[in-house]
Amino acid sequence: MDALIIVFASGLISLFAAFSKKPILVLSSALGGLLLGIVSIIYQITGGQSFVKLGYDGLEFTQASLYYSLTILVFAFLLIGIGYSRFKESTEHIGEYIGLLLFSATGAVIMTAFTDMFMFFLGLEILSIPIYVMAGSNKHNALSNEASLKYFLMGSFATGVLLFGVAWIYGATGSFKVSEIAQAIFQMNIDNTMLFIGILFILAAFLFKVGAAPFHFWSPDVYDGAPHVVTGFMASVVKIAAFSAFLKLFHEAFAMAHDFWVPALSGLMILTLFVGNLSAIRQTKLKRLLAYSSITHVGYTLLVLISGSMTSVFDMWFYMTGYGFSVIALIAIGISVNDEEDKIEALKGLGKRNPLLAIAGVIAVLSLAGIPLTAGFFGKYLVLADAWKEHSTLVIIALVNSAISIYYYLKVFGAIVSKSETEQAPIKLSLLTTLIIVITIIGMIGLPFIIPFL
């Protein structure tokens, strides 16, 4: 709760700090606020009490939601940090950019902690609306505008579908509260059409938000058109928030209707994996590749929802955190290389231009591909191992896909490690960017080794 308030307040402060026309002030208030939020969450994880107590039970910060919030704030911190070099170019707008990202992060934190549908919806909207705006923040660029409009239209449609679903659920169970919905489903007749329609609608909206097939068509265009930081934000913060919310919905509220939605989700998971992977093979642009690869990773993560074991919450947290670090590292590289057309080929000769970026890039690609000793491998392992007992076929399909995906990751890997034909200027990194890249490297390598201490 503290962190939520702190981050929201720092968002406001950033907005007002922009009046001073000093970008550094906006940045430091945002990063300071996030850092304070991170500290307060760590304080609570280690057993401390929240300072703010509300008489309202719509939000409940359990251990799980604290972990998810921690990741969200860390990612927001990293992304705002690497985006700063771009943001500061437009002094008059930096306040909005950073403020909107912070508000979005606030929404994400709410989504990890809601206990009723009302708060869930509120969180989702607070998360989404700033992103609609931010996707178009590069406003002299037609692609960015297209991305924004597309995301907005599709997103609001999905929101409508979601609300409709919530209404059906309310009709079937008579409650908005997660625990009461679960109770009601537990007691009701198994074949309740009203409930099923509601679940289906919510499922569709959810799959839209995370970009799973067949609701994925917006994501490559939006990822490609949006500025780098916003792409990174959508791939890491938005996804982890959406997944944590839907994990709660499907594993707590709709757990008893398990037999209904698991087969549907299994089919969609297979579709998502193949669509993401096969489309990624021919991509030549880094951000488009990231979009398709993120569709594939959504597919793996859906497996957590499907398998539903004791450790699901942890598996998903670990997977999304590891994935987020890799995405942020690649986004940082994309920003630093600053290629007009965002071609994968432009990564050639990165080792010469800046060894640190090359190392981060190599590790990030290996982590996305799931090569051992990276967080990506352990994440994939946890997900697959948990699903093996009940859904071994799905695990094998996932592994087949991971074999397909090596082809396009190897392309990026090859580009990073090969020499460039033309002489290119070395890339100079600011201190902040260097720090952030080092953090992502530590995250990608070190994450598996901190598990025993959690």
């Binding site: 090569i371 051992p372 000793l373 491998f377 592994l399 190897l410 490690v417």
Partner: protein, 483 residues
Amino acid sequence: MGHLLFILPICFALIVLFVPKNAVRIVGLLGGLTTLVITVGLICTYNSANGMHYFVKQDWIKGFGMTMHFGYDAISLLLLLLTAGLIPLILLSNYKNELASNRLFTSMVFFMQLGLTGVFVSLDGLWFYIFWEITLIPIYLIAYWFGAPERKAALLKFFIYTFVGSIAMLAAIIGLKSMAPSFAYMDLVNVALTDKTVAFWLMAGFFLAFAVKIPIFPFHTWQPDTYAKAPMAGTMLLSAIMLKMALYGIIRWLLPLFPEALETATYCIIVLAVIGVVYGAVIAIKQNDMKRLFAYASLSHVGLIAAGLFTATVDAISAGVLQMINHGLVALGLFLAVDVIERRLHTRSLSDLGGIAKQAPKFAFWFAALAFASVSVPFTSGFIGEFLLLKGIYNYDWIIGAVAGTTLILGAVYTFRAYQLSMYGPVNTAEFADLHWSEFVVFFIIMVIIVVLGVYPAAIIDFVKPSVTNLLELSSISTSLAK
């Protein structure tokens, strides 16, 4: 002391990145030799009576059954010795090349050593898989950075092939773990696989990973291309050490873990392996590119080792270990011989070569000695190893044994054809400098070991026998069961 096996390669992999360019080769050699000394130390202190020596044995992540179990027995030790011994030889054999003073190359060789060492000492399914995968990265990078110009397609094929194999193994490991309390080796061995189909598919997962890497007949298509396109040091690493990972995997994991499933599958696997033996040899006869020729020769020799291992008898497996060491040495030597020619003449196609023996008699002598070692004449280490392997296969099924036996004849044909066409005949080339001292030292060391082991193979066989016996007891396949 076992920890040093991990620490030293990591340290040297990082150190060589920061030393001045002209010191890289010295530091590299030094690093290789230090690890060798440690390994020899471990062998001297090893006592076969205690069975498996764990030097790390603790839980890692309790909730997920991940452990950190690292240890060795005689089989692991010999492969560690092979790795530690061949790495300095590989560095030394490239001493004259620019490659040896390349920081990234030397660093990658040490990363490779780290991965290989890990594979040979991991007694935990997950760590075995982790190290197994890690070795892919340095070898890919070595071949990618320093290979022939048209290497990319071949490397992609190599990477995807081996990655698919590894993925199958990962699936099998996950499946096996779901029936065991943890990944620890003993826990996995003790899993009772009651369902035959499940046992078969789990076995198939492991087998696919090993079969691709060895490679066994239908899974071999990546090998000649990759060998031909990789730089010589990469080819040496691949054939001399890396494929031993898979043979080791058969001994350590496949045989003890899936005795039930292997009962039905062994026959097919041995037939496939023996097809590879003959197929590789026949194709090698027709090759014009020397490197490809020895790549196919390697396919043939390794197929024989694999076939022998699957007979699961103490003699055949001990001989298999001996033959692994022999193959590592001979392959290194032969590829070096090809490289000696290629460095000087910039070609390795047999039709362009000839008469080198007149210009470089010293080289001709050592190449001839290696050629003899390669066809396993008596008093070279290959003789007793190949003999025992063939005997094992013959006892298993005499027809297969007889077919596999043709390798001796075919081996002589392709080896001496290559030797004859390159070394004798009219002199085709203007100039051919004789051996550099570093090349000479490598040839000399290899031949000394080959001859010593040829005269006294019991040094290896008696050393591994207790461990092999232990292992076969684990797998409960007794000699009699294997018919």
